[in-house]
Structure formats: C-alpha cells, structure tokens
Symmetry: C2
Amino acid sequence: MGRPMALHLVKAGHEVKVYNRTASKMEPLIIEGAKSAESYAGAADGSDVVITMLSDSPDVREVILGSNGVLKGCKPGTVIIDMSTISPAVAKDIAARCVNNGVEFLDAPVTGGETGAVAGTLSILVGGKEAVLEHVRPVFDVMGSRITYMGPSGSGQAAKLCNQVICGLNILAVCEGMALAEASGIDKKVLLEAISTGAAGSWMLSNLGPKMIAEDWAPGFKIALQQKDLRLALESACESKLPLMGTALVQQILRIAEAGGCSDEGTQAAIKAVLKLGYLG
Amino acid sequence: MGRPMALHLVKAGHEVKVYNRTASKMEPLIIEGAKSAESYAGAADGSDVVITMLSDSPDVREVILGSNGVLKGCKPGTVIIDMSTISPAVAKDIAARCVNNGVEFLDAPVTGGETGAVAGTLSILVGGKEAVLEHVRPVFDVMGSRITYMGPSGSGQAAKLCNQVICGLNILAVCEGMALAEASGIDKKVLLEAISTGAAGSWMLSNLGPKMIAEDWAPGFKIALQQKDLRLALESACESKLPLMGTALVQQILRIAEAGGCSDEGTQAAIKAVLKLGYLG
C-alpha cells in the first residue's frame, strides 16, 4: 500500500524520497519523479516529514529506531508518521523515543485498503499531538478523504484495532449466515438481496457475501493480515485484561482457514472454514 | 407488531376481523373499523386470508392447529399466513397439515421491527407455493415494502434465521469494538464517526453504537426476542449438524446480559455483558 500512497504525494508536487529494501519496488515511483534513498536514514536526511508503511510492530521499531534507521537521519523538528497497523503500546514507545530526540511522531494507521490507497480515499486515524497533525494535514489530505484525530500517541492504533475487531466479527457473521443458508437449502443470492439493506446489513455482507457465493477468493484483504490485526487487538485487550471472546473465536476460525491453505486468500474465504466444520465444504 | 400491521390492512380498505386473547389489545383496531372475533376459529370463519403474528413455534401450532384453532374455522382455499418467527421445521409441518385440510399456508416472517411495521416498510420473507404468494401479494404490499419469495414451506423462516444469525454477530462486533475502545481510553463517539462508513460499517454499528454511548437501553429489539431467534437458528443448524460457534457464543454473551436483568432491554445492552467480563461495567 505504500506505493500508491507515495505516488499521490509525488503527483501533488511534494519532493519525495523513497526507500525499500527491494529496489524494484521503488522503480514505479522513480519513473513518476521520486528520488531513491540508500537507506532508512538516507530517506530521512533533509526531509521535513518521513512516512513508514510496514507490516508489523517489530518492522516499524527496527526501521525507525534501528542502527541505520529513520531517527538517525532526522533533523530536529522532523515529523515521523507511521501509517502501518501496529501495537498501540509500541507506537507510544516509539513516539517517546522520537520526542527524546527532538523529533515528532504520529501513529496514523489507515482503513480503506489497497483500493482506498489507490483512490486517495483512505480513512486515517491519527494519534499524537494535535498541533503536529495540523502541521502535516496537507500531507494526509493527499492520501486520505477522512482524517480523524483520535488522541495522544497510540490512539490512532487503538482506534484501528477497534475497527478490525468489528470487521472480524462482521466477517464471521456473514460466514455463519451463509453457512446456515447453505444448510437450509435456500438461495443465497436471493437471501442477500432480501436482507442486505436491513438490520443484518454491513459493508462485509454487501462486499464479501457476493464473493462467497461466486467462490471468488481473491484478496481484497488477506486472511494473514486480518489475523495479524486480530492478534494485535487481542494483545492490546490482554494488556487491559479485557476478554474479547468473539474476536478470539474469529481468530481461531480464521486459523482453520489458514490450516486449509487460505492465508493469502481474501477474508471471504473464512466461509470455507465454517462450511468445513459442518462437513458442507 | 400485529396491531400496526393489521391497521395497515384496515386503512387499505380490507375487511378485517381481529382476535387476541387480551380483548383490550383489539380496541385500537376496532376503533379504526376492524371487527372483533370471539376465537381463533371465529376470526377465520368466512375469511379469505388469515394472518397470525405470535411469539414462538408452540403458540403458532396451538393457534392454527388447536382444538378451536384457525384451521377449524377455515373454508377450503383459505390462505393462512404466519408472519411470526418460528422454527422452519414447525412451519413445514403446519403447512402440510393445512394442505391436508384443503387450506393453503405461507410462512412469511418479517424484518424491520416495530418501526417497519408502523411505517408499512417491513421486509417479508416468504416460504410456500409461489402461486399462493402471488394470489395474496396485495395483502403483503400493504404491510411491507420488500416481499421476497424464498422457496418451499419453511424457506421464509430459514431465511429469517440466517438474518438473525448475522444480526447477532454484528451486535457482538459492535460490543467488542466499543469495549476495546473503552479499555483503550479513546473517544467512542469520534471512533464511530471515523469508522461507520468504512469496512467496519453495519446497520448495527450505526444504530446501536450511538445508543451504547448514550447508555440508552430502551428496546428497539429486545434481548429476549433476539435470544428466541438465536435459539431457533441454533436448533435449525443442529438439525443439519452445522456448528455455528459464533452464534452460540452470542447467545451465551446475551445470557450474561439476561442474568444481569437486561432481557427486556434492547440488544445494545449486550455491551454491558462484554464490559462486565472485563470488570469495566
């Protein structure tokens, strides 16, 4: 998702330096006018704003705080924005270390997926100092259509995890509803048309329901990534001693899908796990 | 819900006879022009169409097939429409007994709740013979804005239970998302605005989320009724040996809410159970 997000920045006229360990991933951006850096620190060198978009908490910690990391290249007053989805506690810790080095940090995970990144319509959930958000708002405006200030450092990540908890259970809702329809022998397409606009309606029902019927398992959002986000949500809930029994169950159902080789399929493939439990798939 | 539904029929100019064991419940309809019957059979006597709207499978069985029940009063060719939410298997059984007596039967449960009943915008899920549905469609059109033929007897109920399974898990989704927000110390109102139109969006998030924040527990749809519908869904899934682990969990979470005295509160009160599990409420 980093590529289309960076592309919006280039096209908006910002001077953009990019760095990725896999050089080929930078090429499409260089063709469009971005410069390439030699390292994380090099990308930060001379920049007013540094944006990271990575997989998980350890990656972000290493890229920002590591021996040749972003923080090493930053001048005082630089704003580091991490748009990955990671642990709120790690985001808070990284923020504290940045501030100790005279550098600002925002956690700013996004919702809207690859599609939203390409369209520039991401929803961005921001944690950190509000004044820092206002300072870099023009940068966010290029990538997203809804920018929400959620509170102090870690709050953007906390909000994203709430979002993912709801997404996960809404996915299981569609799976169990469709599995019961399958077991009952009723037409799932007719069912979907009848109920999608009522109290059972959800983005997941409207978007994943038809894919389940068509047995289209191409990702949208991969099960492996949903699992990572649910793990982060459950870890975060664990720190507060909050039992999230539904979310924990969703993670186990998705584990069944992963055991069946569906990690890189879209979350709609969770229906295969629910059907398998009933010997229906 | 029977009263506003019957009222639409009266106002549309149909000759309506009503019967309820509690005489006072008939009064508002009699004022509007309905006639009162002395029994279930009496309500059916001379009628072309008989509609039942009751709580659960045993009630419908008794009212239609009982010793002074609807079937006793029906002339051949009458159409009995049960708009209650009951077991698909019981609906099938009642349909068979009606047909044996020369009477037609449709199962036609509704979604849209009290609000939809009053507005005449119910979604009606119909099981039975399609020709019979077409015959009585003008009656449905007065009460609902979306009438869907789902298949043979029991299919309307089966579709309704799929709807309720999805509703139940979508409710738990909102509860766990809001509980994590509470535990994380982020502003739930701001969160809701940020995520309601994205992939986490659902009717339940938009409608129950604000009520949870306002601690408004007045029903919309009572927990006791959601529990009844989930029980029917789990019984139906049981007949197909289909495990519905999420739905089963929702029923247990709602049981916690019921143990706390929330049976007659709206389903949004399920958040109290999830918070209680985390000693947050």
